[in-house]
């Protein structure tokens, strides 16, 4: 939905950081509470970079799960996919989200062939989970 405008922001940041050099991979941290659909983001990245010097670069998305700290009992915990933001230990709804709202461009990998060709996917890259 809003992935297109997000890709425009990513483009602006990456284009500034690369200082004219070719880019192969843009590394992002995306928290689970950010309503970003990775495949849509990757699709929009292709659209936004078309006919630019970033064409052929790809996004590497590091998913960050949601973690809470309970203000009532001080427990810390991950949140299940249902995203119920309540303490799983004591049931209190007075919780602080300590992780899972990230939306950051962490780094870029320079290189690639700079000829607009998409490099082949590599094992460690592409969407993955992190806890």
């Amino acid at each position: 939905m809003h992935e297109l405008s997000l890709c425009r922001s990513i483009f602006t940041i990456a284009d500034r950081a690369r200082e004219g050099r070719p880019v192969e991979i843009i590394h992002l941290q995306v928290g689970q509470l950010r309503q970003v659909v990775p495949r849509t983001l990757e699709y929009c990245w292709g659209l936004v970079t078309e006919q630019t010097e970033l064409h052929g670069s790809r996004l590497d998305i590091d998913h960050i799960e949601v973690r809470l700290r309970c203000e009532a009992c001080s427990a810390t915990m991950p949140v299940a996919d249902s995203l119920v933001l309540a303490c799983s230990a004591c049931g209190s709804g007075d919780v602080t989200v300590t992780q899972g709202e990230e939306f950051m461009l962490t780094s870029i990998d320079l290189g690639g062939r700079g000829d607009g060709q998409v490099p082949p996917a590599r094992g460690r890259h592409g969407a993955r989970s992190r806890s």
Binding site: H2, A17, I25, L33, M104, P120, R122
Partner: protein, 271 residues
């Protein structure tokens, strides 16, 4: 990782190298061991640390909007909901009620038409319409630069209260700070009790939920207690007001809430 350093011109990067040892880091990003040449190309990638928030540019524009509103003494509300929940009906009632006592304005986000803005015309408020259809597909939300544009067409010094009527959508508007002081939403009982669970980011982002179309309760199999319970699991602190923009049931509570916000000093920094 690696030999991270910052140059005088503000750029920063690290020179990647393979590690067989662990060490402490004083910065937030993760420890990668996939540096070095695994690519099959002649040269390995050089990683440049960036660490920029992708919403940074929007957030800076939002802060500037808020500062301009504060300087003019205007309290600004970002009003969000799904399409058809009753944002425009609420504003029609509200502008009529405030006419003559509070100088109000509306920035109205609409993908294509001026239909909603036309409904609000003649109620004594300054209206600034923002069609988001330029670009392709039409933006599904208002962002801070768009609102900055609309603010430029409004005489802020003549206002006390400004509503930003966002595009009807429960997903995207929650992600973009437009520079308002308060985020409120309209949730109608024709939408189902499960909406807070399905759209937690939106329901968590707001301080007030107006549960609209409450006059339809006798005609629907709607479990109001379940909606409130679901809302509490997502946002235990939100104020909930049950209203009907059609019968005006409960609107006095909304007007009282608004006047309480007008009596406060607008907060310059939010987020």
């Amino acid at each position: 990782m690696g030999r991270f350093h910052r140059h005088e011109d503000g750029t920063a990067h690290d020179h990647g190298h393979d590690h067989a040892h662990g060490h402490e880091h004083d910065h937030a990003h993760r420890h990668d061991h996939d540096l070095g040449d695994h690519s099959g190309y002649d040269t390995g990638p050089q990683r440049v640390s960036v660490l920029e928030h992708i919403f940074g540019e929007n957030d800076d524009a939002a802060d500037a909007n808020r500062a301009a509103l504060c300087a003019a003494g205007v309290v600004c509300l970002n009003v969000m909901s799904s399409p058809g929940a009753g944002k425009t009906a609420l504003l029609e009632r509200t502008l009529s009620h405030l006419q003559g006592s509070v100088r109000a304005g509306v920035i109205q986000g609409d993908i294509e038409t001026s239909l909603d803005a036309d409904r609000l015309a003649g109620l004594g408020a300054q209206i600034s319409l923002l069609n988001t259809a330029n670009g392709f597909g039409g933006e599904c939300h208002l962002d801070a630069p768009m609102v900055a544009n609309a603010l430029g067409r409004i005489d802020l010094d003549a206002l006390e209260l400004l509503f930003v009527e966002n595009v009807g959508n429960l997903v995207c508007p929650a992600e973009f700070d437009v520079g308002a002081h308060h985020r409120v939403m309209v949730c109608s009982i024709t939408e189902g009790e499960d909406k807070p669970l399905k759209y937690p980011v939106m329901f968590r982002a707001v301080e007030l939920v107006l549960v609209n179309k409450i006059d339809l309760l006798p005609h629907l199999d709607f479990d109001l207690a379940l909606l409130e319970a679901n809302l509490r699991t997502i946002n235990p602190h939100a104020t909930v007001l049950k209203v009907s923009t059609r019968t005006e049931h409960g609107l006095d509570d909304w007007y009282a809430w608004l006047r309480a916000r007008l009596a406060e000093e607008p907060v310059a920094a939010l987020r």
